[in-house]
Symmetry: C3
């Protein structure tokens, strides 16, 4: 996916123009465009009735080769709340993939039906293949890893909504930092904007991969520290991004059981945190955040769900070229890029 970053000079009418653009990774769009989407999502949040016909007549195809109810329903709700329609399938067994059709042929077919495609596929690279075959924009809803660009956009929108900015924050990431691709993507994207201090909290078995640390080091205004004890650092954090520590990552069950509780957020640990800290989690949550935390005002993970829907509304309205009544496309207020 090297070389897919568009230069601003390729953009037709405005630096923010995303019409027809596929988004396989966030490298497909500029930091300015991400800021633009954050502004747009914030506008949508305040103007849901006004935008409810913006994409009238547009069709989203959700091609989910593996089930992901949360993500699928978020995309579908986003298109419906823009006044558009939805077609698609929710798992490969309901699709005709048993007949051996290639992803490319499916996308060439679906390009005749839909104005934008959200694809989820178990194989890494499937979304890129799809985007090359389709004649309409394709948005990666997850291929292989569970990272996908609109998850990271949801995370950013939650920071923006809680703090009014996505910079000048101390961001703790806790749990499985080795395999948790969601947090890798969030760090990489925050580094494009800069001015973030990362606090990486994990067992020794599950530390952050070197290439992510290198990415942080490459950003002058970003830094990190690695710790194993959440309670020792939780008081410093503006943001705590929790992830699940999965049993299957450990060689023996004893290690898992010993470590698991250390990385569970409960009311006791939360008492040590700032009153303004925001707790994020990509969901689904199993037991890594105690349900007693849900009613704490710092719990932001169900807000994240709403922000994901709003960012998908912002992104889809942009790539299908549906202008939002009352939203100034070319305004550049609030755009902050200091990478």
């Amino acid at each position: 996916m090297v070389g897919r970053i568009p230069s601003d000079s390729q953009l037709s009418t405005s630096q923010f123009n995303l019409v027809g653009r596929s988004v396989v990774t966030l490298d497909d769009i500029t930091a300015s465009q991400i800021s633009y989407l954050l502004r747009k999502a914030s506008f949508i949040s305040e103007h849901l009735p006004e935008v409810s016909h913006a994409a009238a007549g547009k069709i989203l195809a959700t091609l989910f080769y593996e089930p992901s109810t949360r993500t699928r329903l978020s995309f579908e709700t986003a298109m419906l709340r823009l006044g558009g329609h939805v077609i698609g399938f929710s798992s490969a067994q309901n699709a005709s993939v048993s007949k051996g059709e290639s992803i490319s042929d499916t996308l060439k077919t679906v390009s005749n039906y839909a104005d934008v495609v959200a694809i989820r596929h178990p194989k890494e690279g499937a979304a890129l293949v799809a985007s090359k075959a389709a004649s309409v924009p394709v948005i990666n809803a997850g291929d292989g890893g569970h990272m996908h660009p609109t998850q990271t956009l949801a995370d950013l929108a939650t920071l923006q909504s809680r703090f009014g900015r996505i910079t000048d924050l101390t961001v703790g990431l806790c749990g499985d930092l080795t395999f948790g691709r969601t947090v890798h993507s969030l760090i990489e994207t925050l580094c494009r904007f800069g001015h973030v201090k990362f606090v990486l909290v994990s067992p020794k078995e599950l530390t952050m991969p070197q290439y992510v640390l290198d990415r942080i080091n490459a950003s002058d205004s970003c830094s990190y520290e690695e710790v194993t004890d959440l309670t020792a650092v939780i008081g410093d954090l503006d943001v705590l991004y929790m992830t699940r520590v999965q049993k299957e990552r450990f060689f023996n069950e004893d290690d898992y059981l010993r470590l698991r509780d250390t990385y569970i957020l409960d009311a006791d640990k939360l008492r040590l945190a700032k009153p303004t800290m925001a707790v994020l989690h990509p969901l689904p949550r199993v037991n890594e955040i105690a349900t007693e935390v849900d009613d704490d005002p710092r719990a932001a993970y169900f807000e994240q769900v709403k922000n994901g829907m709003l960012m998908r509304m912002a992104l889809m309205s942009s790539v299908v070229g549906a202008p939002l009544p009352g939203f100034a496309d070319d305004s550049d207020e609030n755009v902050e890029v200091h990478a």
Copy 2:
């Protein structure tokens, strides 16, 4: 679920106000509100074009953890015919439940997407759990037993439509009265309105449970008789509610085969009935009503399907707060409660 019956004094602007109300069982709404829904469904039936945009922009989520095509399509059609949208899943294998997410978390997530939820789940109590977690109204589309409130509402609407009333009727219930929770719910609800004579027709192996008989006895204006022979009583009935006698309810196949035919409604038995009798059945029907009965004007079971859709339109428009053009919400004409 004891204590969930709201008192009328809790209702905000009118005794019929159902905005935001979850309906797990019919005990969640008053008899007056049921009468109100019957009036509303009757209005909708005559004004489908006028109400076709009443719920514009509203989203129904159908969360079906087990398949039930008939019920799901009825809910979905109801929302679409009100001008709203639909998201959801049709079976657990298409949902992400394999990831171990709790029903509560799913409902907290979906509350960000939808304005009303219809849930179907194999486990008893799931709908109550869902209604407590959700921030939007939840309607039970079946959990555990196959009884659910909108089935009973469909039954009531069919009586109302055929007879102009749901009281002063002789109602026969025939077949499996032990396990047929649909008929238990219908009896309990009719007893809230009173003035019904029940004729309970079943083999000795499948008689009505005592708690249902107690409920009838508790209503001064209701009474019952228990018989084993349908042909002996069919001539007395205003309503004949058929249910399926399932093979697996019997200890040996001989008993099943001997009894089964006694409880099959065919043209011969129907000849003994009043010309105005209405035959109801919750569907799906296997062989307990011969297909030769379908074209008889007394067959009301496919009308019941339509009435179910109309009652779901009445209920959903009420709980999402979508006023119907031309329908007077606060009128109390036709409301009859004599329980």
Copy 3:
């Protein structure tokens, strides 16, 4: 299905009136009505925004007892692009068919929900049974064989769109002509219009059945020749309709491997064809057309997908009685029937 061909005198207001009509096979509609649908699809193609509310409030039910994503999404897109709604299921495992309900009962139920039904079922004859039980129009989306009337309509629309006519053409059909019911249906329908020369290209093991040859012979203005070598005849063709040669049709793998390549269309073979030839294929394609052909202007198989959607829009708007703004229903210009 003998005797289901309606005479024009049965048609109510115009010879083209299809309101309420089920289409199980193309014998259910007259050649004039097919021409009318071709005209209508061509109009729709040029007036998508104008027809985008034509079927507002109408509901399509897609009852797919076996998965067929391409066909299902085509029907659903067609209804959505007419401004209607969609309900349904995409495979039997998501439906309640395990409860043993008959197709007739399902259709009687769904007739209360939908204004038109598209049914796909593994058993031959299921669509006819469905059409007899339903009180709304039923369109066969495939039962048993993979032939279904809207596939043939898509093929005809592709000829009409490429050549401005469906007569006076040399049409090659290549591959599995024995079991390929799509090509049988296309031939039979073209013979109703006449003036086509068929070139039948297949291995000896997979030649055209005698009853199809008889049908061609019964049309004075049609003729055919049978050959085994595609390269020898490709230069004569206006149309080349490719089908898949399936391994399981052969007694031994050697025969399959030897013959398969002969019936693969690639750039080399295409070099021998007329510059205006159109390549059709019902899709999904496995390897019988090399992907290098896709970008050749003669490749018409993804256009066929779009034409299928347009014909489904034409057909569904006709059977539900949704007039298209600006389209003159009773005009008979361009209707050519010389069978």
